[in-house]
Point group: C2
Chain length 364, copies 2
Amino acid sequence: MEFNKHLADIKSYEAGKPIELVVREFGIDPKDIVKLASNENPFGCSQKVQDAVSSIVKNMALYPDDSMLKLKNALAKKYDIETKNIIIGSGSDQVIEFLIHAKAVENATVLMNSVTFAMYEIYAKQVGAKIVRTASQEHNMDEFYELYKEHKPSVIFICTPNNPTGDAIDAQALKEFIAKIDDDTLVVIDGAYMEYAIGKDKSKKITPKEVLEGFNNTIYLGTFSKAYGLGGMRVGYGIASEPIIEALYKLRPPFNITTLSLEAASVALDDEAFVEMSIENNFKEMKRYEEFARTHSLKIIESYTNFVTLCLNEGQNSSLLADSLLKKGMIVRNLSGYGLNAIRVTIGTPSQNDRFFELTSQLL
Amino acid sequence: MEFNKHLADIKSYEAGKPIELVVREFGIDPKDIVKLASNENPFGCSQKVQDAVSSIVKNMALYPDDSMLKLKNALAKKYDIETKNIIIGSGSDQVIEFLIHAKAVENATVLMNSVTFAMYEIYAKQVGAKIVRTASQEHNMDEFYELYKEHKPSVIFICTPNNPTGDAIDAQALKEFIAKIDDDTLVVIDGAYMEYAIGKDKSKKITPKEVLEGFNNTIYLGTFSKAYGLGGMRVGYGIASEPIIEALYKLRPPFNITTLSLEAASVALDDEAFVEMSIENNFKEMKRYEEFARTHSLKIIESYTNFVTLCLNEGQNSSLLADSLLKKGMIVRNLSGYGLNAIRVTIGTPSQNDRFFELTSQLL
């Protein structure tokens, strides 16, 4: 059987190894495994969310409220915007899928940073679009603008803070960049880790409201998978002008969010104290990673997220290090697939981080 | 901003009205609302499933096991097949999305029944494919074959039992049809309601194992949304030869099933007694709907599912009837959008059905 020719070029996304897989492959007791690979919230999720979801498990038989009004109202309140400017996706991932299919066609150009979230490329390839990347490792808005003028891309992805490196763009520089982009290019600001960036440095803060008020051609993406601790529930969102939201809605399958996920995300927005506690721990513990890097003469990329990228030195090998850690039950992300001799480590609880420092010290 | 031209032609799927919406629109107390519109299991879901999900709510922060091994193993066991022949979707809906994007391209033809599941057309339009439909209201395999020869479609959808009419195809006739279809046409057997058909008449039974052993060009779709009572959790699956599964996998976003949904579906397969009880109630109560139709001189389509389609007479209007029922808190599906002067009613619990009979008797 012949398939759509674009499929030949698509590689699947390589997810962080789940705990179940490590248990199966290495026979390690689940309680001895520490996963610092997928930037999940190490404190889990809010107790209020757990209680709310437990109280409605009998509703699993019922299709979700496809208007998602409760969650949209909660988001509209959080960001001081209107519900008509919101689309909910199965992770912000799914919103990326919608916008690529809505805006990019065969041979259209999609512009993104040299090192950035892998799914941008995977979705772009599904429609046969051409990928153009910057040369700089960190987002360089001048370089983005030069490439924009040269290629007139359909879609520009800006991931701030950036995954998997952790750096963030100055908000003012980003807004000046978008102001120069024409109305027929869709600019995507992926703010999956924005809650952390705001917790560290207000000059990195971009709000959906600013995006809506300033730019008709821009969509802001957010997620419940990181600071809100709901990675397993698959809820993200896009916020943009109505014409963009309407176009994306045409590609949204009905019931794309589970009944329990809608409840979890809605209630999560009611417990900002949990998020604040998570962010506070994050930056306190990040200092320990910075200290660890200094002690071992590793370069650490200044991070505005819940992870750090540790760049290894010549003679050290990120694949070997990640493998050795894995065999001891410590799961981190090897970035060799991104062309970096580096590992990405989610900042865990104090005791998880202790374990990382202990094991890695033995292996470096 | 200009969007992909295929979007202009797409209408959104009209979902059954959720209880929340009726509460909002008509101010009816939720406990007085009966929803018989979305073919959910009126008994909810298995208590074992509820207990299992409640016990892991703390895991909502963790990304799902993207290999989905536990669920795939359970499905492989149920159907006596191998896990490599399975892909899991966010509802079988998402598998339909994958297969359209994998196999149909712009101007390709997609063949389907005159009246059938609305999402086939919506997904086909996303890629700019042409829709060809039979004239017959029930699946007529001779007519399908004539249209196949004329149009050489990329994809053929066979929904058995069919949604929203409830009729089912003789399994032998279906297998003879598929045997005549060339290897480059993808045949889709959508068995979303197959558990019910098997419960009523074994001559309608098609198994994934038969499909795998007999046909390289065919995919079998199943779901947890109906007999297993997990409509809110969004889990379905496709079973096919490896080349088909591999192609679909290239379009699967990572983590497309929530952590709680994977657990719910896996455990649901362990409680077949719940499914059997549901099916037994269904056909016992269906007899009451048949009796009701006779009493009121309505035509009822012979149903192999958990719903019945009641065809109204001249002078009766399905839109008016559905609206009047809605205002009394009884949600059913008006089929006027499918070109039928009919309503589709999910078979509920005995007391829900009593209420339907009572209200509808007053309105006919």
